[in-house]
């Protein structure tokens, strides 16, 4: 049943085309989104199950065998990422039903959302570096349009930075692909890994590695070119912010994991040392940037950057335990970060602002929402028994085992500052009394809001995920352990794709 591996890409593509055809009926589009993302989630779980049994699921599209055709490959890491795509897509589809103004829906909100999901799934599943570039572009194209949907001034300003930096990164990526093709004459990842293993390790390979590192680093919002993210993520609709926060940067991180375990693993001392520096600086600069913010979503955006540092840290340490920890951070962060954005949107709906100074009193009137926020926020900071604790525990332990004292210390320190940031939000939004002059009709329930459950449902679901991931650390650890084993044995991947060929 290798067909299953392409279905996560086809579902959003088909759903996008269907919702374009039914542009007359917004209701139909909303339901297509919910059904399609729900299906995506189910299929992705099936795919994860299949990869656990078989190790790798490979399909040569159009019957053209590797390395000539485009190969679609799912290993455990890809399958896990696809499951997360399904989870986030499904929650955002439900959340969007209540939070998207009709004007945005009329301008293609749902078709673009499906296109974005197709791009993300494609990037996770492809086994060809040029095809990866194409999926990146599909994803970016959709994100450009979603980012500017509505056409407000702040959106345009953010979008300019976003578009410029991402196009720059795409240009580097494309040039690197060209140079790789010139050097070894193949674009298939498995074939590339095999052939780069054969050639003598010269300076050229390291140059290529660095070009890919810079390109993916920009897309992942790693130090030093991360500023496009906090400049743009707080401007679009909150559903879109949450979708971006959950998935987009993680595609960059996934690409780093794929390239620097499978393809560029010849000179680990050199490449992974640079990654280690990048990880440390990303963590620190993100969290320090957040400390100065008083806008709910901007503050969270800076935390995305700092969390990216943890993910890269796992890759940079390059031991089995560190890779497990790194993937754990990715999974946990996708859930928690998206949820924090969703909460910020809910609070906006209740009190009409994203400015921390104009918010307050949520705990007094709606303790349930406060609890849901607290679960996600404390999980992000890494308190037990929530998901973030397990993730950070694994990473720190891996760091200590290798003896990377400095960066481990930095990671611990950054956790403390993250906690400080989260407590700042808690104190400002939930704890302090409502500031004067703020309309509290919706908060106290004087003005009933019949669609509020559509917002609460996804938030509660994701918060439950954060708790479950934390409590069920052991079974998840086992899956991730197998994933890390696959990543650290590139020969398995090469054999799965190329078969018995040399």
């Amino acid at each position: 049943m290798s067909h299953l591996v392409l279905i996560p890409i086809l579902i959003p593509l088909l759903a996008g085309a269907l919702s374009l055809v039914s542009w007359r009926s917004l209701l139909l589009q909303r339901w297509i989104a919910v059904v399609a993302t729900g299906l995506l989630l189910l299929v992705s779980i099936g795919l994860l199950q299949l990869t656990r049994e078989e190790g790798f699921v490979v399909m040569h599209v159009g019957g053209w065998a590797a390395p000539f055709g485009i190969t679609i490959v799912a290993d455990l890491l890809s399958a896990i990422m696809i499951v997360m795509t399904g989870v986030i897509g499904f929650t955002i589809a439900i959340y969007s039903m209540a939070m998207t103004p009709e004007r945005h829906e009329r301008f293609g909100y749902y078709p673009l959302m499906h296109l974005l999901l197709a791009g993300v799934s494609g990037a996770f599943l492809t086994g060809d570096i040029f095809n990866l570039y194409v999926w990146f572009e599909v994803m970016l194209l959709a994100s450009f349009a979603l980012l500017t949907l509505g056409g407000e001034r702040a959106q345009m300003e953010g979008a300019i930075k976003y578009v410029t930096l991402n196009l720059f990164s795409s240009a580097i990526f494309l040039s690197a692909i060209g140079l790789v093709y010139g050097t070894v004459g193949t674009l298939n990842m498995a074939d590339l890994a095999y052939k780069l293993g054969q050639v003598e390790h010269s300076g050229m390979v390291n140059v290529l590695a660095l070009m890919f590192m810079v390109a993916f680093g920009i897309k992942a919002a790693a130090f030093p070119l991360f500023f496009w993210l906090p400049a743009s993520y707080h401007t679009p609709l909150v559903g879109i912010s949450a979708l971006f926060a959950g998935l987009l940067t993680k595609v960059g991180v996934y690409a780093l994991y794929r390239f620097f375990t499978l393809i560029f693993n010849g000179d680990v001392d050199y490449t992974h040392n640079i990654l280690l520096w990048g990880a440390g600086l990303t963590m620190v600069s993100g969290v320090l940037g957040a400390a100065a913010q008083f806008e709910f979503r901007r503050l969270l955006s800076f935390h995305i950057v700092s969390q990216i540092g943890y993910m890269i840290l796992g890759l940079a340490l390059f031991t089995p335990l560190a890779i497990i920890g790194g993937i754990f951070v990715i999974v946990h962060n996708i859930v928690v970060k998206t949820n924090l954005f969703l909460v910020s949107g809910l609070v906006y709906r209740l009190l009409g602002s994203y400015d921390l100074k104009k918010l307050g009193g949520v705990y007094r009137h709606r303790p349930g929402i406060a609890l849901l926020f607290l679960v996600s926020a404390l999980s992000l900071a890494g308190l037990p028994p929530l998901s973030g604790f397990v993730a950070k525990f694994l990473l720190i332990r891996a760091g200590l085992e290798v003896g990377a004292w400095t960066v481990t210390g930095v990671a611990l320190l950054v956790s403390v500052i993250t906690l400080y940031s989260m407590l700042k939000i808690w104190a400002e939004v939930f704890w302090k009394p409502v500031p004067e002059g703020v309309n509290t009709e919706r908060l106290t329930g004087e003005k009933p809001d019949s669609q509020l459950w559509l917002l609460l449902l996804p938030i509660a679901g994701l918060a439950a995920c954060a708790v479950l991931i934390g409590v069920n650390g052991q079974p998840i650890y086992e899956v991730l352990e197998a994933a890390a084993e696959q990543l650290l044995n590139p020969a398995l991947y090469i054999e799965a794709v190329l078969g018995d060929q040399p």
């Binding site: 290798s2 086809l10 269907l18 542009w23 399909m59 159009g62 019957g63």
Partner: protein
Amino acid sequence: MIDKKSGVVKANTVILHTAALFLLPLQILFSVFLLLRGHDEPGGGFIAGLVASGAVVLYLFAHGVESTRRIMRFDPRDILGLGLLFGVISGLIAPFMGEPFFTAQWWTLYLGAETEIKLSTVLLFDIGVYFAVLGTILTVVVSLTEAEE
């Protein structure tokens, strides 16, 4: 000449008016020819879609939006969505024949003694591209013209 009410320039020359009327069917026919020829010679869905939209846009310049909408019968957005749908569906047929997705499927129709027509999913995909290109360009041009008026 300039329309006094809206201040929009309207090219109401007799030559353009008449030429657009005659060129429209010719250009559409030519686009279909390009589409079918494209399988192994220069042509194909993309270029054919451009030619077809060129025809409609010329008609639009000469006769205005309302008249163009009337002769198109379908909303451009429908054409666009339909094109995308065709494109995706063309890849979904192969697995039912036991082959990987997007593998080209061929069917030959025999018409009489020595005539045969080869139908394929490749053609379906090309038709999808044709409609997608046509739909996109017409959506853009029609909305821009309507915004101006």
